[in-house]
Each structure stands twice: as structure tokens, then as C-alpha cells.
Point group: C2
Chain length 241, copies 2
């Protein structure tokens, strides 16, 4: 279960094991997990090592410590993740809905000044522009326009644009998103949006504009997503004033 000779730190192996316990339903939400001393004995590691693993999972919002009582599996992990940085696909799955996409447009163009500045490239460089309707349980939820720098996405094909771009990035290219800046604003649906989202012209739209960065600080996507105001609510948590 735990390999002390592995180059992977013990506390990390413990984290993975504990996540698995929760995923397998062996540790249930709201219930206490074994005490630090029990885990320490079970795996023949020091209590400090167990504590480091626990601290990380508390940090991730998966566990909850109560002094004098024990360590508990947090309820509604859903909302916690929601508060972070999630793709449309992930977010809908977390809300218990089935995400789907309709590809409207897939082309390689040269970046306009706005897109170029957001992606930190020159205006003569190429970008993919992908327009998709996003559905949850087959109901249109949002219309999305994504700009991706061609030099990062190279041989991407139309087929790759049907699913989660984040998944594509991580599995096919080994790239991981690190942080993002978002603007959120309210506006009214124009005729094009109204048609795609099957709403009336002038209906409320919640538009989220996101620039996402890799761990290296390189911007890798600039996305504008227009959500139906009657069906979508952006949920958000802020800590430490």
C-alpha cells in the first residue's frame, strides 16, 4: 500500500490512499476517519508524516479537522471544487448534469489585437478559434468562443474540440492549468446568441471572459462564455480579508 523506498514521498502516497478510501465509499462523508495515531501505526510511519498528508487534504477541502474530536470527511465536496477553476464539462458533471457540445465553428485564423494581447503573442501569429454551444442534459446553457495559440496546440483537429479542452490539454499535451483571470458581466442576448441558446432577444446573459495560464505563466486560452441568465449562477468563495 505504502512503499517507503519509492521516490514518491510517503505523505503523498498516504494522500492518494486516503482519497481512494473516500472514492470507494470506505470513508463516508461527515464521518470520522481513523485517528492520526491509528494511521501512524497501521502504516508504520511517524505521526508527523500522517499529519502532513492530512494537512494537505484539509487544504484541498477534502477533510476537516476538529480538535479533540477527530478528522472528518467533508460533506458536499461538490461546492468546494466548484469554487475553484473548473471547465464547463467538469462543472456540469459536478452538478449532476451531462455536458455536451455542438461545434459551430473550428478554424485557424490570425490573432486580432485583443486576442493577441491576451495570449501574449503577435497579431500575425495563428490561433484556433472554436465556437461551441454547451449543453447540460441536452438543454443549451452557454455559447462559448475559445481562442487557443496554434504554437501550443499544433496538430489539434476538429474532433478534439468536441470534448473538454482541459482534458485534451492534460492528457494529450501534458499541460496543466495553473491560474486564470476572469471578468464577469451581465448583458442582453443579441439575435445570434438568442438563436444558439434558444432564448428571446434581450434575455439576460452572464458572460465570463477567462484568460488561463500554464504553470510557466504562458497564457494558453482566452475564452468568452455567455451563459443563459435564467439557468446559470456563478458560485464563488473568497477567504482571508
Amino acid at each position: 500500500m505504502i512503499n517507503k523506498q519509492s521516490p514518491v514521498p510517503i505523505y503523498f502516497q498516504l494522500e492518494e490512499w486516503m482519497k481512494q478510501q473516500i472514492e470507494d465509499g470506505k470513508w463516508k462523508a461527515g464521518r470520522a476517519i481513523p485517528s492520526e495515531r491509528e494511521l501512524s501505526e497501521q502504516f508504520k510511519v511517524s505521526r508527523m508524516t500522517v499529519r502532513q498528508a492530512l494537512a494537505n487534504l484539509v487544504q484541498e477541502g477534502i477533510l476537516l479537522k476538529k480538535k479533540g474530536l477527530g478528522t472528518f470527511v467533508k460533506e458536499q465536496k461538490l461546492e468546494q471544487v466548484l469554487l475553484g477553476l473548473t471547465s464547463f464539462s467538469e462543472e456540469m458533471l459536478k452538478r449532476g448534469m451531462t455536458p455536451k457540445s455542438i461545434l459551430i465553428n473550428f478554424e485557424k485564423i490570425t490573432a486580432n489585437p485583443l486576442v493577441a494581447s491576451q495570449l501574449a503573442i503577435h497579431t500575425n501569429e495563428e490561433v484556433f478559434r472554436i465556437e461551441r454551444i454547451r449543453l447540460a442534459d441536452d438543454v443549451p446553457m452557454a455559447f462559448e468562443t475559445a481562442y487557443l495559440p496554434a504554437h501550443l496546440f499544433g496538430e489539434m483537429t476538429k474532433e478534439d474540440a468536441y470534448g473538454s479542452l482541459y482534458d485534451y490539454l492534460q492528457t494529450q499535451k501534458g499541460l496543466k492549468i495553473q491560474e486564470a483571470k476572469q471578468d464577469i458581466e451581465a448583458l442582453l442576448a443579441d439575435t445570434r446568441l438568442a438563436e444558439f441558446l434558444q432564448i428571446k432577444v434581450g434575455a439576460p446573459i452572464l458572460q465570463i471572459t477567462r484568460t488561463a495560464y500554464l504553470q510557466t505563466g504562458t497564457p494558453f486560452e482566452y475564452v468568452r462564455t455567455a451563459f443563459r441568465g435564467d439557468r446559470y449562477r456563478f458560485n464563488h468563495q473568497v477567504t482571508r480579508y
Copy 2:
């Protein structure tokens, strides 16, 4: 400098001391701070204790660790705060505008079920309801309805409701906000909103609903703010995917 007999944990005292070093300019942004072993010797505490203090400051985004190199003071601490939780007044000041309020309503009522559940009180308990128009450079920007539990705000008067409630909380009551949950949605202006914000009925509205908590975890305000969609944009940064 560090009191080992104090009930305050040593690592916490170290954190405070290190923050002070930065504030006093003794530790400069981008520069390395003394090594863990040096600090450990200087304060005659174990290295693990120093590491706990450092870990917390890294978590807060104040320090940055580089393996093999040292621990560094992070640049741009300011932006960190900006991205966090700000009041309308603060936010407008940061945007270079002058905030003002028009008090529409100030009353003490018993909490309705929604408000009671958000503030973790009973439906027969009293709350203040404050309705204000928020102006930036004398232009209406938002209409705000705030609910504050009476047991926390005791002798608050109408006059206190003209300025920043966060300032009032901190200076008069010594209470500090710790975290908040926010819902953001798009909707259309009704006649009342349209009148207060001097916009047309059916104009886009960005509505932010916030429940804010003290360090103790006690909710202390439930606020619904309706921003003019044509003048306001919510700015937001997310890290750590």
C-alpha cells in the same frame, strides 16, 4: 521577540515577526530571507517549528520557497489583496472613483426564513435591513440590500449606515471579516431597480449575493447587490487548478 511560555504558538509568533520584517522593509521583495537553519538557531526553536511558520506564509502568498536556493519574499503582495474580498467602497476607491451612498431604508425587522438561514439565526430574531443606492463619482452603480444580525450590531444607528459597513465593523466593533461566499447571476431590471439606478426596465443587471463570515465562522452579513450591467464588471482571479 519570541515567548516560549506564551499560550500563543511559537510558529504563529514567528509568522507575525516575519510579516513585521517585511513591513519594516528589513526583508525586501524578491530577496531571500535567512535560511530555515539560521532562523532555527536565532530563535532557539526546532527547524520544524520554523518550517511550520514558513509554510503558513507561503500558503498566504507572502513567501515563496525555492528548493536548493532559499525562501524569498514574494513581489506584488498588493494585487493579492485586491483579488480578495473587497467592499463596494474599497473597490471603487481602487478604481479611482469616489464612492457615495444614498440611504433608502433603515429598519429593524424579524428575519425571514431565507435571511435567518443565511445568518444562522432563528426566524424570530431581529436583523437590520439596510437598503442603499451606491454611487461612484455621483453616478448610480448599484442598489444594495444588506441584512445584519441585530445581536452583533446592537446600537448601530442610521448614521452608521452611510459609509462603509466593513469600516464600521472593524473600527467600532473590532470584528474582522474572514471569508465570504458569493453567488453571481445575471437578470433584468424591474421597475424599482430601474428607478433607483436610472436605467430602463429590462436593462441587464449583475447581481452579487454575498454571505460574509467572521474569523469565528459566525455569519455577520447577508447582502444582495444589483450592479448596472452596463457599468460594472466583476473581476476575479483563480489559482491552483
